[in-house]
Symmetry: C2
């Protein structure tokens, strides 16, 4: 299996999944993508990154859900509905957005590992179902240990300079490739923004350009 | 048929469709909603309104697609894909956004008329497939005549003070009820934003709260 590709690995079709552990809609996408990509026989290329620097480039010093109260009110209600629809546990976090730097770095240490999807799910569950601070090293360590993983080793690798640089590179790449929010799905050069576009992104990954009249 | 309700009128289920004739994604929603609401046996309550005043309340003096280049680039590409996917004609308008005040007022004169859906489609086609200026009285007059409608009479009613006040009231109501963008679908008190949420909005209209764990 190529580094960074996991799930449906026998397929030649690939879809990049760009997500931020602070992003509510990324939680829904992360919960959906394994089953739906599996059914579509599309391999997931996991791409943890940071929304904060992309927001800064768009002129925002906070989540647009905090800066725009109407948009924020809608999002919180929408997440109640969406998580119920998809059978996901949900508790509105007492702090939003939480720093997702540590969580993203931990995920980056596992891009080519079978444990990655489980850790991604556990980190989202901590933030959006258990209301735990995923910026807290102890929270992440407990979560890794509960999954039977070598927490100290992984956390050590997570804060290694190579991992920090990797996360910075991915975040820069996201912006350069036209991403501005999360979750985003990328098939080749085609970007699809929002958990509600997962199905179309998977269709495109299977058959690039099938929708494209141009 | 109750004023403002058209399509699937024998159903007790109703979904409000809030749209702006300047909105690209509203074009896609307007093209989809009759068939999908009909299949779901949900009556459409047509709600033309103006996004501009809602954008102003969010601190924007232009479309967010113009203010935010990354978001704008994505939108234009996405519209190519979406219109191809749904088999809709598409030409990127040479001016965006166009003033949709006249078009919205014309639509308001037909809320309880069988001709409304056809006029809505024709206005969107003019803006987003034929690159015509829907703010131009002559363009709208031609379009109404082509549909066999009394253009002078309808345009006279469109600029009547009652119609102007009606549009202002609807736009105020949109903001008061939590809308911040278009298209939006409202079932009871539940708002769904974006053409990609039409299916969920129709599900909710048929069975309020079925997704709601709260």
């Amino acid at each position: 299996m190529a580094p960074g590709a996991a799930g449906g690995a026998t397929s030649s079709h690939r879809l990049e999944f760009w997500f931020d552990f602070a992003s509510t809609y990324s939680y829904v996408a992360a919960a959906r993508i394994e089953a739906e990509a599996g059914a579509a026989q599309v391999a997931i290329v996991w791409r943890p990154f940071l929304l904060g620097p992309l927001f800064a480039r768009q002129g925002w010093n906070d989540s647009p859900f905090n800066l725009n109260p109407a948009r924020g009110r809608y999002m919180w209600r929408d997440l109640q509905r969406l998580t119920a629809r998809h059978g996901l546990p949900w508790r509105r976090p007492s702090r939003f957005p939480r720093s997702s730097v540590l969580a993203a770095r931990v995920a980056l240490t596992g891009l080519d590992q079978d444990w990655l999807p489980g850790v991604v799910r556990a980190l989202y569950h901590a933030n959006f179902a258990a209301d735990l601070d995923i910026a807290d090293r102890r929270v992440v360590a407990d979560l890794l240990r509960d999954l039977g993983l070598p927490a100290d080793d992984l956390l050590g690798r997570a804060v290694h300079q190579d991992t920090k640089d990797h996360l910075r590179r991915l975040t820069d790449e996201a912006w350069e490739r036209g991403l501005f929010g999360a979750p985003s799905f990328v098939a080749g050069q085609e970007v699809f923004w929002g958990q509600d576009r997962l199905g179309e992104a998977l269709d495109w990954a299977r058959q690039p350009g099938r929708d494209d009249a141009v």
